[in-house]
Symmetry: C2
DNA sequence: AAGCCAATCACATAAAGAGGTGAAAAACTC
DNA sequence: GAGTTTTTCACCTCTTTATGTGATTGGCTT
């Protein structure tokens, strides 16, 4: 392997940072290009050091790893961010992922596994422990059982009009959009209201959104 | 270990089913309680066989593994469903997870890993390959970068009024709700419209929802 | 063929909402 | 303590929406 994976490390705990530094430097396939206790110079370091993989702690003084992650992805989208942290709560996991992290390891992960995870994330995987994965899946499953949204029996045309309502259009705009008269729009909307059991535009829009009719 | 993990297998391909059957029976910590080529008798088998873990193929004649999964979870929520399949597309992965699957393995996974995954899922983990995990993360990341929602600088009172708008209330109702006159409501709403740069109730509500201002 | 429903349009009235202008008391800021 | 913002209210005008009633056309069903 001629090209080493370029690693950048952010970790505020000195012992951990030095331990990781040692581990990474001892691995021939990796090249540690920097190790810092905070992300205050992130905007310089990412473009300058061009890391392939950033190991990011979450709890750091100043900007947290959660907040730093989207900045990394904005500065250099091809850089993979691997969270390495002690936090196992769904909230932080979720935020990190939403912000662009590609993997999530716990600090108690063994050195061997950390090295493996780095290769993994570099090759397009998303390493995470199966307990983290379970928490991630949890998010999807939390969302309402999706049940089949009640069928309000809207006609195709009515559905189109409803979609336009949800775009925030006025009657006039909807009429123009569909090349029909305002009175026709009114007529459709009357029927929609009856079927949805509402009596204002806002209620119809809210119901359409909440029940995913559109 | 006195209690073996009870396994139920659904797999339409005969060779694969028999191969898996052999593998599972050869593992002392597991007890195979059934192996079927389709899910037509799912409603009888789940309550009858009380599996701890169901290995579920996706592509089966009749009801697919995707459709069978929520039925399993409904019949016996404590049963863990592990998808074992050849499909790696985000759509199927997503559907399986939404329907309650707790893990997702590819058929090319080694026997050792499959056995490990069964124990893993039984103990509350969510085994999946890191490439599957990457696809799962992808869903989260597709959603808008969340950035910090723009600050429209609404005053506390304006925010309350906006919340009422989002409940679908009329001016009159909002006035009653907050013990203020309709004219005051109008006044607040005018300011809200200015700040949000909209000019109708529906637009305000949509913007509030979309940008998570409320 | 008769009947039903979807889609179109019209006219009319009443209620709700949008926009202009002004203003006063209270709270907050500098 | 002077100036700004927030919250409250009023009145007036115009537009948009909501609702009633009715009617025509074309497609689908029985």
């Amino acid at each position: 392997m001629e090209n080493k994976i370029r690693i950048l490390l952010y970790e505020d705990n000195r012992d951990l940072r030095e331990g990781m530094t040692f581990l990474l430097q001892a691995t021939p396939s990796l090249q540690l290009v920097g190790a810092f206790p905070d992300t205050s110079n992130l905007e310089m370091q990412i473009p300058g050091l061009k890391p392939d993989v950033v190991l990011m702690d979450i709890d750091m003084p100043g900007r947290t790893g959660i907040d730093a992650t989207p900045v990394v992805k904005a500065l250099r989208p091809e850089t993979q961010v691997l969270m390495v942290t002690v936090f196992e709560d769904e909230d932080r996991i979720f935020q990190a992922i939403r912000n662009g992290a590609s993997g999530y390891l716990l600090k108690r992960t063994s050195p061997t596994e950390i090295i493996a995870a780095i290769h993994d994330v570099y090759q397009g995987g998303s390493p995470m422990t199966s307990s983290i994965a379970r928490r991630v899946l949890h998010f999807f499953q939390q969302e309402q059982p999706v049940a089949k949204s009640k069928d309000y029996d809207l006609s195709p045309r009515e559905l189109e009009i409803l979609k336009s309502l949800v775009k925030g259009f006025s009657y006039k705009l909807i009429a123009d959009e569909h090349f029909i008269s305002i009175d026709t729009v009114r007529s459709h909307i009357r029927h929609i209201y009856e079927k949805l059991q509402v009596n204002s535009k806002t209620e119809a829009v809210l119901k359409a959104l909440k029940e995913k009719i559109v």
